[in-house]
Amino acid sequence: MIEPNRQGEVWVFAEQEDESLSDVSLELCSKARELADRLKVPMAAVLAGWNVRELSYRLIAHGADTVYHIHDTRLEHYRTLPYARVVCRLVEKHKPQVVLYGATPLGRDLAPRVASEMRAGLTADCTDLEIGDYLERKSRTEHKNLLLQIRPAFGGNIIATIINYDRWPQMATVREGVMRLGEGDPRRKGTIVDEKAEFSDVDLAVRLIERHREKRKVNLKSARTIVAGGAGVGSKEEFQLIHDLAGAVGGAVGASRGAVDGGFISKDHQVGQTGTTVRPALYIACGISGAVQHRAGMEESAKIIAINWDREAPIFSVAHYGIVGELQKVIPLMIRAIKEK
């Protein structure tokens, strides 16, 4: 635990795997840059791994003033304890006021371990971060310029703003795709600070025996248009309609869990709380009821069209355009209208 310190930097834990940075780390750099400017402090990234120094320049391009870089063979592949050791030691040394992590499987394994060792707070899965003041009623103390950590909880049914005014750093994880990915400016200047890691035998006791990664085949996040199908599509055969409409509009295919559970399409197409968070220019939801867990992953889309025969389906509450009707009839009409134009 460190004391609140107003000069502390704003940090991003830069997640990399197989020498490539995760998108969420770059998204966080843009956000951290914004927060650091508000606080008038520098922004830094922590980059640990083996032969990954080159990645520092991308972090700098996306807003980092400093990159704390640790080069060590024992950090080649992520393991909880050595990585937690690195982050804890750097936090104790440099005393940042904010540390942000991607809410990825890696970030959600690492961040709580660090938070517990530092006895600091950690807010999970934030959808927004702001700087603001807080008046503590009991002691009537005003805490200025805190990190306001905004997150859904209760299965997405409520939005809570969480703060942490006494035990720092203020730490949060943020879901991939929630913050905007900036362009990055290759001319930005920054400093790379090489740091050393020291590990005990205990830190290294868990061994990685085998490791397998799949290339991400479905890229929902960068799609400008997504056509998503739900349980209402009915069958794997009928799901071809969703592929056809996606083909007609030049978009990607998404799905609700209802469609994934029904075996219509593979899980990597799932949009929502336990799938991908997307914000395309256009999202067409076909035969999807719009459960909170699904809406959580798509409601930020610029335009939403819902096709559902049940006028009361909650998906209509987030839709800009609603077509109450049978999707097997409506989708062919849409395909025809697009081809005509």
Partner: protein
């Protein structure tokens, strides 16, 4: 060799079916309007522990921190194969965030004493943080394997575990003791066994005994009631039907790290997501309707 397992389970409000009635005017959740359920992932944590014990021998202790009503979830653990159940209940634990929760659970596990594996669910469906598992491991000073799918190998004090990280998997080797957080794809939880239900449906916490005795002896004096309670508790204990109930003092927890005082995160504001019927533009499911829509999207450059 036998393995002694502790499974952390949580009773949660069923957040998958939240209706407007579950929200209070001020935007907070009316927990009373939501049915309490067994946290889904924790069933898989329990199954992993019970399966391991059934294969190699040992014990399974179910542990929860929660309101008195959480005894129901502990009974369910007994139906599904746990040997022992412990409820941590203390007013001073209220308002704990994940850090304070994991501290309190770690103190309870220290009191349990001997353990080889601690199992948690990956995530609870109310707080939704998935933080308690890793934090508990740190508090206990043991390694963690999150996103557990299955044991690949169990030999003496060393296990090999396969974890699924979404875009792939890995196999880790760790020495015991170890903490594991289980995915819902890890296994198929066994249903409650009828025989065990018959046996354990009378399992009670001390608080439940007090309530039952008060109900059955409404006119009794304090002393008479105390004697009756002591008798019932003694009887339950002998038959292995007492759900142990511990407070902060029994687990030797430092109040500084419990409840609101021990929680660095504070909820500043809560806002409920009310389904807004703000209104969308209705499009007729006809050729003209759909054509008009596509036209509109092209004009505003949503489609190109």
């Amino acid at each position: 060799m036998p393995y002694h397992c502790v499974v952390c389970i949580k009773q949660v409000p069923d957040t998958s079916n939240v209706t407007v009635d579950a929200m209070k005017e001020d935007g907070t959740v009316n927990r009373a309007a939501l049915p309490a359920v067994f946290n889904p992932d924790d069933l898989h944590a329990l199954e992993a522990a019970v399966a391991l014990r059934d294969q190699y021998d040992g014990t399974v202790t179910a542990l929860t921190m929660g309101p008195l009503g959480a005894a129901e979830a502990l009974r369910e653990c007994l139906y599904r194969g746990a040997n022992r159940a412990i409820l941590i209940n203390d007013r001073r634990a209220a308002g704990s965030d994940t850090l304070a929760t994991s501290y309190i659970l770690s103190q309870a596990i220290r009191k349990i004493g001997q353990y080889d594996l601690v199992f948690c669910g990956r995530q609870a469906i109310d707080g939704d943080t998935a933080q308690v598992g890793p934090q508990l491991a740190e508090k206990l000073g043991i390694p963690q394997v999150t996103y557990f799918e299955r044991f690949v190998e169990v030999s003496d004090r060393t296990v090999r575990v396969r974890r699924n990280v979404g875009n792939g998997w890995e196999i880790l080797e760790a020495k015991l003791p170890l903490l594991i957080t289980a995915l819902d794809t890890a296994n198929e939880p066994r249903p409650s066994a009828a025989r065990r239900m018959m046996q354990y449906k009378r399992a009670r916490t001390v608080a439940e005994v007090e309530r039952d005795v008060a109900a059955s002896l409404p006119d009794a004096g304090a002393e008479e009631r105390d004697i009756a309670q002591a008798n019932v508790i003694e009887k339950l204990k002998r038959r292995g039907l007492l759900i142990e109930q511990w407070g902060i003092d029994e687990i030797d927890a430092d109040l500084q790290w419990c409840g609101v005082a021990g929680s660095p995160t504070k909820v500043h504001r809560v806002q409920s997501i009310v389904l807004t019927k703000e209104g969308f533009k209705g499009i007729e499911p006809t050729e003209e309707g759909v054509r008009g829509l596509i036209q509109e999207l092209i004009v505003d450059h949503t489609l190109d």
